[in-house]
Symmetry: C2
Amino acid sequence: VRVAFLGPAGTFTEEALRASAPPGTLEEVPYETVFEAVMAVQSGTAERAVVPIENSLEGSVTATLDALAGEAQDVRIAAEVIHPIRHCLVARPSLGVDAVRRVVSHPQALAQCRRFLRERLPGAQLATAASTAEAVRSVAVSEGADAAVGAALAAELYGCSVLAAGVEDRPDNMTRFVWLAPEGEPPHGWPSKTSVVFWGFNDESPGALVDVLREFADRGINLTKIESRPRRVRLGHYMFYADLDGAADDPRVNEALAALRGRVETLRVLGSYPAGSAI
Amino acid sequence: VRVAFLGPAGTFTEEALRASAPPGTLEEVPYETVFEAVMAVQSGTAERAVVPIENSLEGSVTATLDALAGEAQDVRIAAEVIHPIRHCLVARPSLGVDAVRRVVSHPQALAQCRRFLRERLPGAQLATAASTAEAVRSVAVSEGADAAVGAALAAELYGCSVLAAGVEDRPDNMTRFVWLAPEGEPPHGWPSKTSVVFWGFNDESPGALVDVLREFADRGINLTKIESRPRRVRLGHYMFYADLDGAADDPRVNEALAALRGRVETLRVLGSYPAGSAI
């Protein structure tokens, strides 16, 4: 089975992929962007994809939501994995922490480790890279006193050492990743959760969104997430992405979705899948 | 009046600032991050700040929402400005479009000009910078055949030429910027719109969000935006950011906000201000 993932090799996405799949059974194929990884499943180039969808500190990964609501019409969420983002300070094996003069990573990773960098490496220059994995790859071949902030997996893959692990300011930094599959494939396990996206209210009154949400509330269906995203037409036009408790073929959920369909221009069920738990 | 803005000099934020303020009356002070610009008003270092809050293609600027809902407790939205994002291909005055071998910009700007770059500069190498303004600054002092994608203002400030204007794929690319002021300052003009953020439902039933939104709908108050953001505690805990029609001291809005206060742990009114129109 070919699995597309947000690359390059050694990202937190690949860590999550490996943490949630039997080792040695999959061919892992890195893609440069979330959009390309999702579209690999849409086009049939890959049978599965793993991409991040939401982080506890940064919020939704909008590229994933936008791809699922947009071009990837025949792709569904088959499973979710909640994976801790444990940042490591990584360098060539010969370098000690106190010798580090420059730290490179994705800007978000540097921001998430601000306290560690300030306290342990106050004089180090900070430099940005396109991803944490790319940062580790660059220090593996660097001649200078460079370290990277990235995943333990990246250190392993690029022959580097972990100088310090868990250097993030907040230990509760978790990312929710999703496994994507072509429409029609069975979910990975027993579905207990459904993701949907909808847009275009038939009734443009102030209460239109409320009426839509009541289709769930009145049936006792809990929404675990609701998020608005621009429809990319003009400011003020939104689509709504929601996660709800229950599978799409549960009678109550099925009834709510049928009612919703009468209220909006487009409703897309992005998948029913087992609710993931933190590892 | 000192105005903090998301710098460096020559960003689209500075373009929006200049487009919405009388020239020559303000001292413009660039800050490296949205958070620092917002906090400059909170700390009294600046009297005003201008920061982006939402883009028609990319969605909300989460750093702005998070700062207003978080540490910047005494900062309010005083006005909004809707400004077109018109990307320009910029280089040193001696360079022609066809001589360009490398194009540098913020990754989002490069993505927004993908078609132009593919069709007009198919062989050019793409490189990333921390901001469009930083990209223009770097090509101004570069010796190579480098161009940047950025604002016309940046070309002017760094002594570069605009080789091509309006190189974005989508001409409807607009950003909504906000003027921020200390609490207690009057709004810039007649307020017709209010921004709020709230979290922590007193009633944890499936219908809690619906009940909250009904406080507006039942009073005929239109929500022009609703967005969920992580509370940064753990996955699945959200705060809700909403824009609504009407000033906070309109009787109906005032009543709805009072009712909302009884339903949530925290409600913060981020400001009432005139609704901006596209320029």
